[in-house]
């Protein structure tokens, strides 16, 4: 145990002289660079070890089934994006169909050749009952156009079928 200088003034000195003399022998700690480096390294590695140990107390508990839920979410997202892609394709197809249909109807009103017109109309709309009923008449008109000259055709159209008897009488008179 070190004696306190105040209690041991020494034989012929002042209080604490003995300690001062002792310290005076080595006023500065004479540690080599190597020793100082070793102490520093040991302290800092100890500090690092303790810090790492403290940080190691912070653990994270991962929720059960997390991976499955992530996979399910990814699956749903993938499906949604696929549907969106299909939806875009369908919308584009519908738009194209409308454009084609529009282009198909235009020749009807612009007097393109008969073949092209009937080709475009076929399949888009069934003929009405009135049109079907009028077909024999249209055929007759077609016949008139091909077989009679314009004057005869006009007379034929102007004469009521009931006048047919009158014409027969005329022929008999000739």
């Amino acid at each position: 145990m070190t004696r306190r200088p105040e209690q041991d003034p020494g034989a012929d000195g002042w209080p604490g002289q003995e300690l001062d003399e002792l310290l005076g022998l080595d006023p500065e700690p004479r540690l080599s660079e190597r020793a100082r480096g070793q102490i520093h390294a040991r302290l800092s590695s100890e500090n690092a070890r303790v810090l790492d140990a403290l940080l190691g107390t912070d653990e994270v508990e991962v929720p059960h089934g997390l991976a499955d839920r992530v996979l399910a979410a990814a699956h749903v997202d993938q499906r949604r994006r696929r549907f969106r892609r299909v939806g875009l394709v369908v919308a584009a197809a519908a738009a194209s169909l409308l454009v084609v249909a529009g282009a198909g109807w235009r020749p009807l009103s612009s007097g393109v050749p008969e073949g092209a017109r009937s080709g475009a109309v076929t399949g888009l709309q069934d003929p009405s009952e009135e049109l079907l009923a009028a077909l024999p008449l249209l055929e007759s008109l077609d016949f008139l156009e091909q077989e009679f000259d314009p004057f005869e055709r006009e007379v034929a159209l102007a004469v009521d079928p009931r006048d047919a008897v009158f014409f027969e009488l005329l022929e008999l008179g000739d």
Binding site: D52, L54, L55, V60, P63, L66, R69, L71
Partner: protein, 186 residues
């Protein structure tokens, strides 16, 4: 990742199995345990992976690339939180800085003891108080074993800057956790 890019769907399952927990842990340590929807953010990370499937080039490790996505999400969330906190100035904040960031500590196993709970709370609070870049760097280095070069790639910085950042983070943590050092060293 390469196998998945070539069309092997099972490879994606394996990626999720291997990394979803790590992503969750990183988000938890960076954003804090009170952050709402951390699990949703894990899903968000992997949805971004799915979207980037074609663009991924195997120049870096998959984990580094994945953590880069996580880091971006963390930054977005931090900015969003900052905007939220500006709105809610009345939110209570405890003296030790734990505040609302660490609510699940209340649910800690009582057998762990109050002393240990205090240590964990103090450690979490100390990590939470680090600046964003230092926090992600120390978390990636300490808990995910990434090298300085890999962390630099994740946060878009230089290796030297990361080294210095981690040094500063450790110094800060050591100073804040000093009261615990004696107890832990015994």
């Amino acid at each position: 990742m390469g196998a998945w890019q070539r069309g092997d769907e099972q490879a994606f399952h394996e990626l999720v199995e291997a990394y979803s927990g790590r992503v969750y842990a990183l988000l938890t340590r960076f954003l804090g345990r009170a952050h709402p929807g951390r699990e949703d953010l894990v899903q968000e990370v992997f949805l971004r992976v799915v979207k980037a499937r074609a663009r991924y080039t195997p120049s870096a490790q998959f984990s580094t690339w994945l953590y880069t996505i996580v880091w971006r999400i963390c930054i977005n969330e931090t900015e969003r939180d900052a905007r939220r906190s500006v709105v809610s100035l009345d939110a209570p904040v405890l003296e030790d800085g734990a505040g609302l960031m660490l609510p699940d500590e209340v649910e800690m196993d009582p057998l762990e003891g109050v002393a240990r709970a205090d240590v964990i709370r103090t450690v979490r609070a100390a990590i939470a108080e680090l600046p964003d870049a230092q926090r992600i760097a120390i978390v990636l280095a300490r808990y995910h074993s990434l090298s300085f070069a890999e962390i630099a790639e994740v946060v878009g910085s230089s290796e030297k800057a990361i080294k210095s950042m981690i040094h500063r983070a450790r110094e800060t943590l050591r100073a804040r956790l000093k009261p615990l050092f004696k107890r832990e060293a015994i």
